[in-house]
């Protein structure tokens, strides 16, 4: 079971995971740079290892780190150079950077390659109004905004109405699929009774769209509706201005802290709510964003579109370390002279999760034309295809596993 979180707008990975040994980080971000970890200084970075620290606003992730359930990947991203949000997101979600002609998404292809259990419109859901590109493909996925709103309402006889409507939709006109999914989803949710939901383990979801979306993912997991993949978006990361308020000398005083803290609190609630379900062989949550942001701050205490970024992998299978081939922040190390370089392809990380956690060895289908390199970011499930770290060719892992269903 995979939860894929997309941070729309280009998260500033250098604010989330701070390279506190880098002089260039402090030189080029005089107003934004977070202080190196220091005991007793709540506004300094939270130490991960000798080079990296978490933003002090991300206390939930720090706790997961302590529990050994968080992997951090840095200087990761797409090999495509685009600094356009839409191109970069599109490429990333299609899983074929630079190729506009791909009509399906990487998760869609994963689901197709493992087409097996069937019988549920909830194999894959996108929490939101619209289906994310990554879920496009042969297997229908539902875009769901709120599962409690999911019912038909009429003054008349609903069963007869629904039966007639179903007949009208057997026309093959392109909406049948949506209609079919809606009818099935209605039936399933009626059984699951989501209104009764109570988060467990004292989990408290923030009252944000992202928090509510993750809460509903947790509901669907626990309702055992056959969920295999959930995509959740969190926006507002296009921080061209005011990552730190103008004139403030406190680098934690501004939009960035607010954004990171909201992000962190929802992830912490989700992991708490799911408790031991997050552990082997349960759920893997991975975060990504279309690109990182420029190393140097701009004139508005913000940052412009950059390149390399960080990703988080959460769950019992995560290997707790900062996984990186750190390129450095000296001018000669930067992409285009200004941006953090990408040394790990994001498909390495996703491919490793697909193979080792979702048990799907058909990486050549999921990421056509690309050979993911295993970076050791997650542990393999006992029954996953056996592969050593390093590049994994399209032929690797010939067995195709039936995916888990629900939150086992």
């Amino acid at each position: 079971m995979l939860v894929c979180v997309f941070q729309r707008g280009g998260m500033d990975g250098l604010s989330a995971v701070i390279p506190y040994q880098e002089r260039g980080y402090y030189d080029r971000r005089p107003a934004l740079a977070i202080r190196a970890p220091r005991t007793g200084d709540a506004k300094s970075g939270q130490r991960l290892d000798d080079r990296f620290a978490l933003n002090p606003a991300m206390t939930g992730l720090a706790a997961l780190w302590e529990q050994g359930r968080l992997a951090v990947v840095h200087a990761v991203g797409s090999p495509d150079d685009s600094r356009s949000h839409f191109d970069a997101m599109d490429y990333m979600e299609r899983g074929t950077p630079g190729q506009r002609a791909t009509s399906t998404g990487w998760i869609g292809r994963h689901l197709e390659a493992t087409a097996a259990r069937g019988g549920t419109p909830f194999r894959a859901v996108g929490m939101g109004d619209m289906l994310p590109m990554s879920l496009y493909g042969g297997v229908p996925a539902a875009a769901i905004r709120s599962i409690t709103d999911f019912h038909l309402e009429s003054r008349g006889d609903l069963a007869t109405f629904q039966a007639r409507l179903q007949q009208l939709y057997a026309s093959g006109d392109g909406f049948d699929q949506d209609a079919l999914d809606a009818f099935e989803a209605l039936a399933i949710l009626e059984r699951a009774n989501p209104l009764q939901y109570q988060p467990e383990n004292g989990a408290r979801y923030p009252d944000s769209a992202f928090g509510m979306a993750l809460k509903q993912v947790a509901q669907l997991i626990k309702a055992d509706v056959g969920l295999e993949v959930a995509c959740v978006d969190i926006g507002e990361w296009d921080t061209h201005a005011l990552q730190v308020w103008q004139g403030s000398s406190d680098p934690t005083d501004g939009q960035m802290s607010r954004l990171l803290s909201g992000f962190d609190a929802a992830l912490a609630a989700f992991t708490a709510d799911l408790g031991r379900r997050m552990d082997d062989p349960g759920i893997t949550l991975v975060t990504m964003s279309e690109f990182g942001r420029r190393v140097a701050q701009n004139g508005g205490n913000g940052t412009d579109h950059g390149h390399g970024n960080c990703m988080f992998v959460i769950g019992g299978g995560a290997v707790p370390a900062v996984h990186t081939d750190w390129p450095g922040l000296e001018p000669e190390n930067l992409s285009g002279g200004e941006d953090l370089a990408v040394t790990y392809d994001y498909r390495d990380i996703l491919g490793e999760i697909v193979l080792k956690r979702l048990g799907n060895g058909a990486l050549g289908t999921v990421f056509p034309g690309f050979t993911p390199t295993m970076r050791g970011v997650v542990r393999a499930r006992p029954d996953a295809p056996k592969v050593p770290d390093g590049p994994v060719g399209p032929g690797a892992g010939k067995r195709v596993f039936l995916p888990w269903v629900g939150g086992q």
Binding site: G9, Y136, D173, G235
Partner: protein, 524 residues
């Protein structure tokens, strides 16, 4: 009745391919596998089971160039002819009744300065935003200038800004002084006006773009989204140079109107798209905008977006070229629209060449407005502005549920056009619920007397006539015989075709809801 996938895919012609795919998957029952694999192909299957008949030319035009047909309008358009109907749309004045109704939304007339001073109060911000939303929807439902309103919506997406809870209240100014002023004028004026509108300068960070701290946000989007298109022939260097052209573009401290700040401008030499920018100061940015307008990629990009709006999600280049050919010197919007609607490819675009299904989906806002227009509903409920932006229990709530309130798309690319982006069980369900609520008279503040409307049009008390009347009122396409029979049966419950007034009153709402909620109504 049990609803199975098998019934849906029967005859869809996809099972052979599906079985081949399924054969490679171990541990599967072949039939199940075929079902699963065939299912996604359904939407794209060429051999459709029951193709909906095409609409008549005037209904097709109304479906695309307006927010949906109203009582009597198809007949009027048919009598006038398409060319005359379009000419009328391009010149007609707004209905005085609409102007009067909107008069009570005072913030629509506020100056930028007034909006700014009022915005210190959160409730005012919500009011400014929600009055603009109300006016926009009201005009969609009741405006006489339907094509104009469609174009205002089009440009509002082309030059999208996101009106959130706390910012971007200046959209009211831009809507009035940019979108509505130039919606049917020329693209050059529209672009310059938009570039210098304070809300766009806020949204794409022009206000933060200075010589000391250049900000590329606007420079990139103006090329990628507003003018050239992402493959329009610019590179990263052009983005950086373009950003320098716009340094110093800002607003007046108290007026909140465009003002250039020379001290923030980067006066150094600049080269964009291979040619030096000669203008100095504020002229550098305007020169760049003109260069973008004159670039061949611009007319194609603008034409492509128009064609995607009105004709097909994946238009042919030939049609895009023919619309771009009407560009003239400055991007003549009316000429492009005339070329578009006169093109044989427009009238031919009632079906999608790939799926065989209809070519353009009704997105939620278009669906919502079309329901109210089709039923002859009075949308005056819009004029009572909600408190603190809370739309619970109101008809607009369905727009939120379907994910398309005006000015609520976050990223600068605007609400998407493609049918696939509006798919999903949840959107479908909300469409159905809106149709049911509207037809059953459960929309708060909307008085509807369906039986009374039939009486006024002297519809015989016979089930077939009643179904035909509402299908004619609401749909662009004729009903297939079996669908008509299903609706007749829903009215008679197996009777002889005659219905009493009581039966009609009782059963009619669900029948009308079935028409609205059917696939027929989901397409433009």
């Amino acid at each position: 009745m049990t609803f199975t996938r098998r019934r849906l895919i029967a005859g869809a012609g996809a099972s052979a391919a599906a079985a081949a795919v399924a054969a490679g998957i171990p541990g599967l029952q072949n039939e199940e596998a075929a079902e699963w694999s065939a299912r996604p192909r359904l939407a794209w299957a060429a051999g459709r089971t029951r193709p909906m008949p095409p609409p008549s030319p005037e209904r097709h035009l109304l479906a695309r160039a307006s927010f949906g047909q109203t009582r009597g309008e198809p007949a009027r358009a048919r009598t006038m002819g398409a060319a005359a109907w379009l000419a009328e749309q391009l010149t007609v004045a707004e209905d005085p009744g609409v102007v009067d109704a909107l008069d009570q939304l005072a913030t629509l007339r506020w100056t930028a300065e007034r909006i700014q001073s009022a915005s210190s109060d959160l409730a005012n911000r919500a009011r400014i935003r929600d009055e603009l939303v109300a006016a926009t929807l009201y005009r969609m439902v009741h405006g006489r200038r339907q094509l104009f309103e469609v174009m205002v919506d089009h440009w509002s997406n082309h030059f999208n800004i996101y009106m959130d809870d706390y910012h971007m209240m200046m959209k009211t100014v831009a809507d009035r002084d940019v979108m509505r002023r130039y919606a049917l004028a020329d693209f050059r004026q529209l672009l310059h006006a938009d570039a210098t509108s304070v809300v766009m300068m806020q949204y794409l960070s022009t206000l933060q773009n200075t010589q000391r701290g250049p900000n590329e946000n606007y420079a990139r989007e103006v090329m990628e989204l507003h003018t050239l298109g992402v493959d329009g022939g610019y590179n990263e260097r052009d983005v950086k140079e373009a950003a320098r052209c716009f340094t110093g573009w800002n607003r007046g401290d108290s007026s909140w109107l465009f003002q250039f700040r020379d001290q923030d401008h980067d006066g150094g030499a600049k080269t964009v798209l291979g040619t030096p920018i000669l203008g100095r100061g504020v002229d550098a940015g305007h020169e760049l905008l003109d260069r973008l307008v004159d670039h061949p990629s611009c007319r194609h990009h603008v034409a492509r977006r128009l064609v995607r709006r009105f004709v097909a999600d994946a238009p042919t280049e030939a049609l895009v070229d023919s619309v771009a050919a009407a560009w003239g010197g400055d991007g003549d919007i009316q000429a492009m629209l005339r070329a578009l609607f006169a093109a044989p490819a427009f009238m031919a675009a009632t079906a999608d060449p790939i799926s065989g299904g209809p070519a353009k989906v009704r997105r939620p806002m278009e669906f919502w407005a079309a329901v109210l227009r089709g039923l002859g509903a009075d949308a005056s409920f819009l004029l009572a502005i909600p408190v603190d932006g809370d739309y619970s229990g109101r008809p607009e709530r369905y727009l939120q549920l379907m994910g398309q309130m005006p000015f609520r798309w976050r990223s600068p690319d605007g609400y998407p056009e493609q049918r696939q982006r509006w798919s999903g069980a949840h959107v479908m369900l909300s469409r159905w619920n809106f149709g049911l609520a509207a037809a059953e008279g459960r929309l708060a503040g909307v008085e509807l007397d369906l039986v009374g409307q039939m009486g006024a049009d002297a519809v015989p008390a016979e089930a077939g006539a009643i179904v035909d009347y509402w299908a004619d009122r609401l749909l662009a396409r004729p009903l297939l015989a079996e669908d008509r029979a299903l609706l007749v049966d829903a009215l008679t419950l197996g009777g002889d075709g005659r219905v009493t007034a009581t039966q009609a009153a009782e059963r009619l709402p669900q029948v009308v809801a079935l028409i609205i909620d059917s696939p027929y109504f989901q397409w433009r």
